[in-house]
C-alpha cells in the first residue's frame, strides 16, 4: 500500500489542461498544410510526381486533398519554391468530404451537430476494418490519463447497442465489410459515423487494391472526417469535441 502511494506521488498529476491550454506539439509534426499559391510554378509538377497517394489535385491551382494525403511531407521536400509546407497545427477535422480539399492555409473545420441530443454525453463503438493499427494506437491513448476522454462525456463502449455511433479506422477490407455494416446496423438511430485516418476516408496507401474498399465513405454516410496517417490524438480529440459543440 505504501509503495502504491509512493508511486502515486512520484507519477504526479498528468492530465493536460486541453482545450483551455494547448500542449507544445513537436516542431516536426506534419499537421495542417500551408499552401502559398503565389509561389507555385504550377507547371513543374514535381509535387504531383512524388505524391504516393495522388493527393495533390492536378490542375492550374495547387490543391491538396487531405482525405488522400498521408502527411509524408514528400511534396514539401521536393518543392523548389516552398509553395507547400506542413505546419504543426493539429486541427484538421471537417464535416464534409469536400472541405478536405484545401488550396491555402485555411481549412473549414467541423461544425457542431445540429441535433443537440448528443451534446452532454456521447458513446462510440470503434470498428477496426483493415488498417495498420496505427489509428487504433492514437485512439487508445485518448483514454489514458493524459487526455482523459471521459471528462468530456465521450466514451468508447464495448457494444454497438450501447453506442451513438461508430469510429471507423481502415479502408474496410472485403473480409471486414459484412462485420462493419453489421456493427453499424446494430447501433440504434439516430447514429453517427466518424471516419478516422486517411484509410477510412479514401483507402489511403492501399487505395484501389481489390482486397478492400476505398474507405468507409463507400459504404455509409460519414458525419466527421479526421484525416491523418495516423491523425495525432489531439486531432481526433479536437474533431470529436467540435462535433459535440465543445470547441469552436
Amino acid at each position: 500500500m505504501l509503495k502504491i502511494l509512493a508511486a502515486r506521488l512520484q507519477q504526479g498529476f498528468r492530465t493536460i489542461p486541453y482545450p483551455e491550454k494547448l500542449p507544445t506539439l513537436p516542431d516536426r509534426l506534419r499537421g495542417r498544410p500551408v499552401i502559398v499559391r503565389e509561389k507555385c510554378r504550377q507547371a513543374c509538377g514535381l509535387c504531383t510526381e512524388v505524391c504516393p497517394t495522388a493527393a495533390i489535385v492536378p490542375g492550374k491551382d495547387l490543391q491538396i486533398d487531405l482525405g488522400r494525403c498521408i502527411f509524408c511531407g514528400a511534396c514539401a521536400e521536393v518543392c523548389p519554391e516552398g509553395a507547400v509546407a506542413f505546419s504543426n497545427d493539429h486541427r484538421l477535422a471537417v464535416s464534409k468530404r469536400t472541405d478536405l480539399v484545401v488550396n491555402s492555409s485555411e481549412i473549414k473545420l467541423a461544425n457542431a451537430l445540429e441535433c443537440e441530443m448528443f451534446g452532454r454525453s456521447i458513446q462510440f463503438r470503434q470498428v477496426s476494418a483493415g488498417g495498420c493499427n496505427g489509428c487504433e494506437v492514437d485512439i487508445n491513448v485518448l483514454t489514458t490519463v493524459v487526455f482523459d476522454l471521459s471528462r468530456f462525456g465521450i466514451k468508447i463502449v464495448a457494444s454497438p447497442r450501447h453506442s451513438d455511433g461508430i469510429l471507423v479506422t481502415g479502408p474496410v477490407t472485403r473480409n471486414m465489410q459484412a462485420a462493419t455494416i453489421g456493427t453499424f446496423a446494430a447501433v440504434p438511430s439516430p447514429k453517427l459515423v466518424v471516419a478516422i485516418g486517411t484509410c477510412a476516408i479514401s483507402g489511403g496507401v492501399f487505395r484501389d487494391q481489390p482486397e478492400q474498399n476505398n474507405g468507409v465513405t463507400d459504404l455509409m454516410p460519414v458525419d466527421l472526417f479526421i484525416p491523418g496517417c495516423p491523425p495525432h490524438p489531439l486531432t481526433i480529440l479536437d474533431g470529436l469535441l467540435r462535433l459535440i459543440g465543445k470547441i469552436g
Binding site: 509503495k3 502504491i4 509512493a6 508511486a7 502515486r8 512520484q10 507519477q11 498528468r14 513537436p26 516542431d27 516536426r28 509534426l29 506534419r30 504516393p52 497517394t53 498521408i70 502527411f71 509524408c72 504543426n88 470503434q126 470498428v127 477496426s128 476494418a129 483493415g130 488498417g131 495498420c132 493499427n133 496505427g134 489509428c135 487504433e136 494506437v137 492514437d138 485512439i139 487508445n140 491513448v141 489514458t144 490519463v145 493524459v146 468508447i156 464495448a158 457494444s159 479502408p171 477490407t173 472485403r174 473480409n175 471486414m176 459484412a178 462485420a179 456493427t183 489511403g204 496507401v205 492501399f206 487494391q209 481489390p210 482486397e211 478492400q212 496517417c229 495516423p230 495525432h232 490524438p233
Partner: protein, 504 residues
Amino acid sequence: MTFTDACAIMNGETVPFNKVPCLPFEQFQKKIIDAVGQKSRICSFFGVKDINCGDAISQLQLIAVIASDSDRRLHLLSTIVEDSYPAFTPLLPQLHMFEREIAEQWGINPVGHPWLRPVRCQPSDHKPEFFHIEGGEAHEVAVGPVHAGVIEPGHFRFQCHGEKVFHLEISLGYQHRGIEKALIGGPHKKTPYQMETLAGDTTVGHYLAYCQIIEALQGIKVSPRANAIRAIGLELERLANHTGDLGALGGDVGYLPTSSYCGRIRGDFLNMTALLCGSRLGRGLLCPGGVRFDLDYPERVEKLTKSLIQAQEDTKTAIELLWNTPSVMTRFENTGRVSAEDCRALGLVGPAARACGIVRDIRQDFPTGQYLQGDFPAMPPVEIMTGDVAARAMIRWHEIQDSLRFLLKLVPDLPGGLPEAAGKESKQTVCRPDSIAVSLVEGWRGEICHTAITDAHGNFLKYKVVDPSFHNWTGLAMALRNQEISDFPLCNKSFNLSYCGFDL
C-alpha cells in the same frame, strides 16, 4: 551438420538468385529436417513462380530461409514441386502456417498436412471449418471479429468443458489488404509507405527491414550516424509497446495503478519518436540509405536525453509495483504456460520465445547497423523464464531497462557524419537484377523477416514478409490449453500479436 550445398549469406546481404541451390525434393526435405534438428530454424518458407520452373504451369519453386545459430548465417535452399508434395508439418510443426499459406496462395497440396485451413480466410468463397470437440458437456465459444475494445479484428473459437479451454483456434484474415501482391513489380511509388503500414505499431521495425533489403540490392552503405538514429527509433518503438503492454496486463487483472501510469508513459515514448521525426509512430524517420531526420540541435539531444532519464524513473516506479503485489503475481504465475519444447517445435520468436528460456534475438545473433557494436542485449537469467504470463511480463521489463540503458549511452554520444548516404542520387539506382536478398530485424514482437527476389529488370518478382506474429499466434493457442477461458485476455495481452502484420 553440413550446409555445403546451401548458399549462406549474412543478414542484409544479397546473392544472385542462381546461386541458391535447387535440390531434388528428397534432398531438400532431408536438409531442412536435419537443419532444424540441429538448432536451426526456418525464418521464411514460400513459393515463387517463373524462374526455374520452365514452362510447366503447375510447377512451383519453394524457397526456404534457414537461420543457423551455429554459424550465424542464413542458408538458402530451394526445390521444385508440382501439384503436391509430402507435407513437412507432421515432422516440423513450425512450418504448419507456411504450408497452409503456400496451399492457399498457389493451390499446391502439402499431402499429409494435419489441418489445411485457409490462412487469410475469404468468407465469400466458403464457410471455414473449425476444429470441433464433441461430447455431452463440451461447448464452443466464438468471439470476434469485432471485439469489445479498440483492437484489430480476428476470430477466436474456444472448445471448452465448463470454464476450461481444451483448444483455441485462431482464425484471421480480416485485415488482409493484399500487400504482397501489390509489391510485385515494385518498388513502386507507394511501396515505402505500404512498408510503414504493414503493422502500424511496428513502423520502424518493418521499414528498417525494407531499407536493408533496398540497401543490399542497390549496394548502399549506411553511415554510422544514420545507423545510430535508426537504432534509437527501433528501441523507442520497443519501449513504447512493452510499456503499454505491461500497463494493459495490469489492467487485465484489475490492477489500476500500473495500468494508468504505463498508458501515459507509453505516450511519452511515442512523443520522443515524434520529437525525432514528427510522427509518433516513426513514419518518415528512415529512408533507404539512411534517415530523413537528424538529431541536429544540441537542444533536441538534450530534450530526448532528459525525457529518457525521466522515463527511466517513471517506468521503475510504475512497473515494479506489479512484482510487489501478490494479487497480481498470483494471476500472472502459472497462467498461459508454453513449454520450451513447444516453443522450439513451433519456432516462436522474440520475447515470447525468450520467456520460455529460448535465447534468440536478432540484435545479438544476426546484428546489423548499430547492433554490430555488440553492446546489446543483456539477457535475463534463463531460470526465471518459465514460459507463463509472469515470464512474458518480466522479459518485457528487462528489455525496457536494457533499451533505456542502451539509448542513454547512445543518444548523448552520437557518431558524427551525415545522416544519409552520400549523394541523394542513390534513390534513383535500380535494384540488382536476378538476385535474392534477406533482411532480419528484431522488432519489439520479435524477428521480422523480409525476403526479396528481383527479376531481370531489378523489379520485385516476389517480396515475402514474415511478421513475428506469423510464428507466434500458434504459441498463444498453445498457452490457452487447459486454462480458464477468462484468462484469455491476460494471455492474449502477454503476447500482444499483430493482426495486420499477419494478414498483410
